[in-house]
């Protein structure tokens, strides 16, 4: 066991990937000597060279499009998008090409591209640096979307993403890059399936489903609720596509109440999908409607008011109160 930050854990995961698989390579803006704007790729170019850690031209469609070509040639490209809000010049390549190549080739071609995107708010940044676009990708069949919330998962999930034969979007909770935790690197491999959710806190009265940056927020809310005598179960989704509905359903059958929280706008978001599915699967176990907590239907607001926008402990507690009021 070693203690490290999420950023360092991804760095170590990428280092392991590059060492273990000669066909893997990293590509993106400023990921070479600078080590990426968040230093997630720090030191890797020195170890593996400019052919494996490629500082690309400033061109998101070009990065993702050439990654697709490299994957078609048998390589395992891991592309970094510098910030969430800048993935859109590459959106066309992701949704019309990457997601569909396997299907439209009748299964003959695979494009195991990983796209790393730092996402979410809470870092006091300026426009386009704090967004949560995961639902836009989750709606696209053919893509897988995962997001770690702790260093151990970060270390292993990035390696699992590279080993996955499907394209994977790896959302990195940027305000948690400096969150420290223990990483078990010594184990022979990851114990957990990256597409399965984790119950990170057991409880009996209500379930809170979160992922990425909101996991610590939900845990803190559950601790606060415990002081009021409420036992809250917290699920770290880990995978946004596919969603581990079995885990949520099992929890809801136990607790009877469900709150889903994410930073992305509530409308049309992942929370709505979970609410609908769980209503179908566990209608008779639910003692209250599924309650969603999320961002408002507005462009991500200026940093000075982002605290009002982002779901926090109180917003999750308020949602739980509503669930308990039924």
């Amino acid at each position: 066991m070693t203690t490290m930050t999420i950023a360092k854990a991804i760095n170590e995961g990428l280092r392991a990937t590059l060492s273990n698989n000669p066909k893997s390579l990293l590509m993106g803006e400023d990921i070479g000597p600078l080590g990426g704007v968040y230093r997630v790729t720090d030191g890797l170019i020195g170890e593996f060279g400019a052919d494996r850690v490629v500082d690309t031209p400033l061109a998101e469609s070009g990065i993702i499009g050439t990654a697709i070509g490299l994957a078609l040639r048998g390589y395992l490209p891991v592309a970094e998008i510098q910030f969430d809000g800048f993935v859109f010049p590459g959106f066309n390549q992701i949704t019309t090409q990457l997601a569909k190549m396997h299907s439209r080739s009748n299964g003959n071609l695979t494009v195991p591209v990983v796209i790393r995107i730092p996402y979410g708010g809470g870092i006091g940044s300026i426009e386009h640096h704090s967004e949560s676009p995961e639902a836009l990708f989750a709606h696209t069949p053919g893509l897988r979307i995962i997001t770690p919330s702790n260093p151990h998962d970060a270390y292993w999930m990035i390696q699992q993403a590279v080993n996955c034969q499907d394209p994977v979007i790896f959302f990195e909770p940027k305000r948690r890059y400096w969150l420290k935790g223990e990483v078990d690197r010594e184990s022979a491999g990851p114990a957990e399936d990256p597409f399965k959710a984790h119950v990170v806190r057991e409880g009996t009265d209500a379930t809170v489903v979160v992922y990425g940056p909101l996991v610590p927020v939900a845990l803190a809310a559950a601790n606060a609720a415990a002081e009021d005598g409420r036992s809250i179960e917290v699920i770290d989704l880990r995978s946004i596509s596919p969603i581990d509905f079995d885990a949520i359903e099992a929890s809801v059958k136990k607790t009877g109440r469900l709150v889903v929280a994410h930073e992305a706008p509530t409308f049309g978001g992942i929370g709505g999908e979970i609410a609908a599915r769980i209503s179908e699967r566990a209608f008779h176990s639910l003692e209250a409607p599924v309650i969603r907590v999320g961002g408002f239907h507005m462009p991500y607001p200026v940093a000075k008011v982002e605290e009002d926008y982002l779901p926090d402990i109180d917003r999750i507690l308020e949602a739980l109160d509503r669930a308990f009021a039924y």
Binding site: P22, L25, D51, T56, P57, A59, S61, G62, I64, G65, T66, A67, I68, G69, L70, A71, L72, R73, G74, Y75, P77, P89, N92, Q93, T96, Q97, K100, H102, S103, R104, S105, N106, G107, N108, L109, T110, P112, P141, G142, R144, C164, Q165, D166, F195, S241, P242, I243, D244, F245, D246
Partner: protein, 414 residues
């Protein structure tokens, strides 16, 4: 030179042309805004200081082969158009007029080269031994692809304009890495993925004059140049992007754009199969040898409609089409072959008979090409098992089974 000095069409503005030409000559030794032509519309073979040498590699058999290919693909085009008219295909994208650009360039490629087409490259597909009946599956609506690109190194058609150009560059970057890996292991070069030592490979990517305006072409050329990737950009300037003329896409010859990225650009008479073949052979050799990308602009013309859904009479004069018919790629090669005694009536009769046979095969296989089972779409959305897909498939099976006599086939086509 200020903006007021920019040419108003691609054909004037000598000041700019002179400047660009001087730069082009430095890069290639060929003035790029001048068009390379070897076989003229009258069927006589001219000379070119750089490319005649390449044309000299073509013997009578190869030239007859070019003619047979061009005639076959034109016949195929006619048959596909007819099949569309009969409702057998949802849409057809004709290539008539562009046979020389496609056969000349396709025949210049080697089996180890990988080709990324757009959606009109039926002639290139022929040169790569793609079963043309499989090519029609996309237009019949029974597949979004139809053939396995790994069999022929001819990628699937791409309908999002220019999206395939960065794929080509990435693939070329992969070839570079394969070669470096192979060299590090002490073998000359690597042919495929973890492949054995083999001949050096390059990538060729096709796009149109309209697509040249898309950002992906720009980004691809930047990447190709930055990494000196072995890729040949083959732009078929057929003069029209549906109803929009080339002049709206560019104010200089497209080939001149290459200089802005720092690699050679060549404009070739796209109706001259000999010149197209020579120029493409040169470009692919250039790329395979590690000298980086090349842009070829094949100056040609789409004689027919953009697709079977298009009506060119709404946007262009029939006199323009007539003018280009005089430059027909098949006619000029026929004249040359006859004049040189390389082919006689018997040869042309045989080509026509082969064409009829191809058309009959295409017709028959199209009629026989049926809807796939939708279960294959469930199976191919992801490579690895996916719970949502499994859940929806299970629902579909149960739902289908609920219909009276609902056997698998009926369920699938519902």
């Amino acid at each position: 030179m200020g903006a007021t000095h920019l040419p108003s069409t691609e054909f004037d503005g000598t000041e700019l042309d002179d400047l660009l030409e001087a730069q082009a000559e430095a890069a290639l030794g060929v003035p790029s805004s001048e068009m390379v032509q070897l076989l003229g519309p009258d069927g006589t073979l001219g000379t070119d200081s750089v490319f005649s040498e390449y044309a000299a590699r073509l013997d009578a058999e190869k030239l007859r082969g070019f003619y047979a290919d061009m005639a076959a693909i034109r016949r195929f085009d006619q048959e596909a158009t007819a099949l569309q008219r009969q409702g057998q295909l949802a849409l057809w994208v004709p290539l008539t007029g562009q046979e020389a650009a496609q056969i000349g360039s396709g025949r210049a490629s080697q089996p180890q080269d990988y080709i990324f087409p757009t959606y009109r490259e039926h002639g290139v597909a022929l040169t790569r031994n793609v079963d043309l009946a499989e090519l029609l599956k996309q237009f019949r609506g029974v597949s979004n692809g139809g053939w396995n690109p790994k069999d022929t190194n001819f990628h699937l058609y791409t309908l999002v304009l220019a999206a395939q150009t960065p794929h080509a560059v990435g693939y070329a970057m992969g070839i570079q890495r394969d070669q470096r890996l192979a060299e590090a292991q002490g073998v000359e070069s690597a042919q495929g993925i973890d492949g054995p030592a083999g001949p050096k490979a390059a990538v060729m990517v096709y796009f149109g004059d309209g697509a040249s305006s898309e950002g992906d072409v720009h980004e691809s050329m930047v990447f190709a140049s930055s990494y000196n990737a072995p890729v040949v950009f083959f732009c078929q300037n057929n003069h029209w992007a549906i109803s929009v003329p080339t002049a709206v896409q560019t104010r200089i010859p497209l080939s001149n754009r290459a200089k802005g990225y720092g690699f050679p650009g060549i404009r070739v008479d796209g109706n001259d199969v000999v010149a197209v073949h020579a120029v493409t052979e040169w470009a692919l050799e250039h790329a395979r040898q590690g000298n980086g990308p090349v842009l070829i602009e094949a100056f040609t013309y789409r004689v027919g409609a953009h697709t079977t859904a298009d009506d060119p009479t709404k946007y262009r004069e029939s006199s323009e089409e007539a003018l280009w018919r005089e430059k027909d790629p098949l006619d000029r090669l026929e004249k040359y072959l006859r004049a040189e005694g390389m082919a006689d009536d018997a040869f042309f009769a045989q080509v026509a008979a082969d064409g009829d046979e191809l058309a009959a095969y295409i017709r028959k296989s199209t009629y026989e090409s049926d809807a796939p089972d939708i279960r294959t779409a469930f199976a191919n959305t992801y490579v690895e098992a996916h719970p949502l897909v499994a859940e929806e498939l299970a629902w579909f099976e149960e739902y289908s089974a609920g219909f009276a006599g609902g056997d698998e086939g009926e369920g699938a086509s519902r």
